[in-house]
């Protein structure tokens, strides 16, 4: 039971992470290869506050705020660069974050921060809480998609220059996407810190950023159910199959390649294609 609960807790955290990145990359079209840095920001912020005696629920908002503010700062970079340059910039942010954390004694350096107080719930309770937050993140994502904000994100992802000449406040919306998406990563970080009760630099590296991107791409860029499925799959698979866990990087690289090459819509796209094929007989 404990093992299952902690596994589902991690799955819930990954769902929140992937949905946050989906807002930035899927909805708004801004590639990010540094999402784990915001996750780490939230985790470290929560760890420090918890160690200083702050109760669990008081820590969540500050963790989101810290990650969100860093997200806005990185968002300003997204106003200057596009596409592959943005990928490199966000990747740089990820390395910068780790580089700084590893050097700072007050952040535990290489050792990390341990003995973080828990949330005062048993493992099942904490799992339910995390899954509850994941459900909230999904609801927010679905709401944004249907709101005017979702439409504008869609326009920016479609053609940024055309959005500008349509009078759209492209800069403001990009910053909003980064702020919301990274704040969600901050929440995931806080949940991680209290759940695992240890944070160290090795959990927030480049591989983790790639893993989150992989969940989004494999699930289906822009699709809420798809991204949730992608997060679940890539959380559970390495746990169930040891060989997968040994070759994590290979798996991510291979999946990214296969999906972009053969099914750019990810699992959601495949599901749509199958539903469409089942719905009407195919013309030969």
């Amino acid at each position: 039971m404990d093992y299952a609960a902690s596994l589902l807790t991690v799955a819930g955290i990954n769902i929140i992470l992937a949905l946050g990145l989906n807002l930035i990359t899927g909805y708004c079209g801004q590639i990010s290869l540094g999402h784990a840095a915001f996750y780490g920001m939230g985790a470290y912020c929560a760890a420090l506050m918890a160690k200083a005696g702050w109760p669990f629920f008081a820590v969540l908002l500050p963790a989101m705020a810290v990650a969100g503010v860093l997200g806005i700062v990185v968002g300003f970079a997204a106003l200057r660069v596009r596409h592959d340059f943005l990928a490199i910039t966000t990747m740089g942010v990820g390395f910068l974050f780790l580089g700084i954390v590893r050097q700072q004694e007050w952040l535990g350096g290489e050792m990390g921060i341990y003995n973080i107080p828990g949330a005062g719930l048993d493992s099942t309770g904490y799992m339910l809480l995390t899954l509850g937050f994941a459900a909230l993140a999904a609801a927010l994502s679905a709401h944004i998609k249907r709101s005017w904000m979702g439409r504008v994100f869609n326009a920016i992802a479609d053609d940024e220059d055309a959005a500008l000449t349509a009078g759209v406040n492209v800069a403001g919306y990009k910053l909003a996407a980064f702020a919301i998406g990274t704040a969600m990563a901050g929440l995931a970080g806080a949940l991680y810190a209290h759940g695992i009760r240890y944070v160290g630099p090795e959990s927030f590296g480049f591989v983790d950023s790639v893993a989150i991107l992989c969940m989004v791409v494999v699930g289906g860029v822009g699709s809420v159910p798809g991204v949730i499925a992608g997060a679940l799959l890539l959380t559970l698979l390495p746990q169930l199959l040891q060989v997968v866990s040994d070759y994590r990087l290979l798996l991510y690289g291979g999946l990214l390649f296969l999906v972009t090459r053969f099914s750019p819509g990810g699992m959601a796209g495949m599901a749509r294609a199958i539903a469409a094929a089942a719905g009407r007989p195919r013309a030969s």
Binding site: A155, D159, D161, L164, T165, A166, V168, V170
Partner: protein
């Protein structure tokens, strides 16, 4: 002096190549200005400077005597510029109607937080219906831009501009690539958009149609404005003829 648009001393160079050299242009309200000149004369570059798509090395642009210098393109659009670029760029992921709605809602939705709590789009829907009728696209409202012929996509481009009730409409080669009958119909539509409170600048190679609809011509060559005035007078000018003949450009596109 109550020029609607005034651009003064605009200089632009790309990697040392002077694309615009001390260009001045004014547009008064009620004018439909035809901006012509051989390929590479700098017409598109001038439009991009006015639209804020590129920043000039020198020079200033004023709309209604307010300086546009340093403002982003979207801000200029909200201040009254309608920008239709040479290559049509609709949002291919949305229907024709949604394209226009998005532009119509842009002014009210500057703040992303207001957009977060907004679902319905009744006002934008009404406005887009009116504009689509104005440019003759009402029958295509639910189609996707990718399914429209070029002429209709050009009208969509214009519809997106009109959603902001622009004071000054900038059109870059709206007739290019259209068969003559369609070009003529679209030129008529452009002429109909003209009124006493606004202005239009149309860059065009189809001289027959610009001459027919514009009230004044501006001719550019080699990054300079070489002549401006009434269409007949401009076309009779020796320098204008030389610029065109030198390019091997016969005229009516």
């Amino acid at each position: 002096m109550t020029a609607l648009l005034e651009a003064r001393g605009i200089c632009v160079s790309f990697d040392g190549v002077q694309a615009l050299q001390e260009v001045n242009i004014t547009v008064e309200t009620g004018e439909l200005v035809g901006l012509i000149g051989p390929n590479g004369a700098g017409k598109t570059t001038l439009l991009h400077v006015i639209a804020g798509i590129i920043n000039p090395q020198r020079g200033d642009v004023f709309l209604d005597r307010r300086s546009l210098t340093g403002l982003s393109t979207d801000r200029r659009v909200l201040m009254g510029l309608g920008i239709s670029r040479q290559l049509v760029r609709p949002f291919y992921s949305m229907s024709v109607r949604e394209n226009v709605e998005l532009a119509a809602g842009a002014a009210g939705m500057r703040n992303p937080l207001t957009a977060l709590v907004r679902r319905n789009s009744r006002a934008e829907r009404r406005q887009s219906a009116r504009i689509l009728a104005l440019v003759g696209l009402e029958a295509f409202a639910d189609k996707h831009p990718g399914d429209l012929p070029l002429g209709m996509r050009k009208r969509l481009e214009m519809a997106k501009c009109l959603a902001h009730k622009p004071r000054l409409l900038l059109l870059d080669e709206p007739l290019a690539g259209l068969p003559q009958t369609e070009a003529r119909a679209l030129a008529d539509t452009i002429a109909r958009l003209q009124n006493e409170r606004s202005g239009i600048v149309v860059i065009e190679h189809n001289l027959g149609e610009v001459l027919r609809i514009c009230s004044r011509m501006v001719v550019m060559d080699n990054g300079r404005c070489i002549k401006t005035g009434a269409p007949e007078r401009v076309m009779a000018d020796a320098r204008v003829r030389a610029a065109y003949l030198g390019e091997g450009h016969a005229g009516t596109g």
